[in-house]
């Protein structure tokens, strides 16, 4: 992993189009700003991981799904 030291207000470029800026450092939190093209979705990693895992689990579903199911009311 590349590790870079930056101060608030300083930025990192990912390629030509993605800019990551350190906005503020406060205690154990860092606020960062991300400027990316619309074609690149940006996620918090833990949400991305949870959704990836659910997608993978859904994709393991058997072809025979029940029909005529009791619906929640």
């Amino acid at each position: 992993m590349l590790i870079i030291t930056r101060r608030p207000g300083e930025k990192v470029m990912l390629g030509d189009d993605v800019v990551i800026e350190v906005i503020e450092v406060s205690g154990s939190s860092v606020r960062i700003g991300i400027d990316a093209p619309k074609s690149i979705p940006v996620y918090r990693e833990e949400i991305w991981t949870a959704v990836r895992d659910e997608n993978a689990a859904a994709a393991k579903s058997d072809a025979n799904l029940p029909e005529d199911l009791p619906l929640k009311t």
Partner: protein
């Protein structure tokens, strides 16, 4: 006039001819799974579950459902950035699905309310729902398993 069809190869369903209008392009794929071209398959108009099936990978398919069939008060809230990114403007024209994790028993079936799939005009996006109380694993049949047995 003949309806244009596309041949879909499926490890689950064999070779299926699907109408061209069932094809959904995902510009950024599904989160963590990728894939750019899928088709929506349903047994019939009233099916509780539909399949989002890859046109590129015969093994890749996810069951989806209409979240309001199970969760009456479900809401989808998008951040401004995300709404802008996917270009959703007309909620009336946008179909909303959630992915389903099927299981051995009905009580273990769940839906991902956090990351719904929005489809409009043949284009699909899996988005992060900002609404509170939108878990990634919401039981579909909690409390109804006895009725189902």
């Amino acid at each position: 006039m003949t309806t244009e069809t596309i041949t879909l190869e499926s490890s689950r369903f064999g070779t299926v001819e699907v109408p061209a209008e069932a094809v959904v392009e995902f510009p950024t794929g599904l989160i963590g799974l990728g894939g750019r071209r899928y088709a929506l398959l349903a047994r019939n108009e009233e099916s509780t579950f539909v399949w989002l099936h890859s046109l590129e990978d015969p093994e890749l398919a996810l069951p989806l459902t209409n979240p309001w069939q199970f969760f009456n008060s479900y809401e989808v809230e998008l951040s401004d950035d995300e709404a802008d990114r996917i270009g959703v403007s007309d909620a009336e024209e946008t179909a909303v699905y959630v992915t389903v994790r099927a299981a051995e028993t009905l009580e273990d079936f769940s839906a991902n309310l956090r990351a719904p799939i929005l489809i409009a005009n043949g284009h699909g996006h899996q988005v992060i729902n900002q609404a509170p109380d939108a878990p990634v694993r919401a039981p579909l049949f909690a409390g109804t398993t006895e009725a189902a047995a």
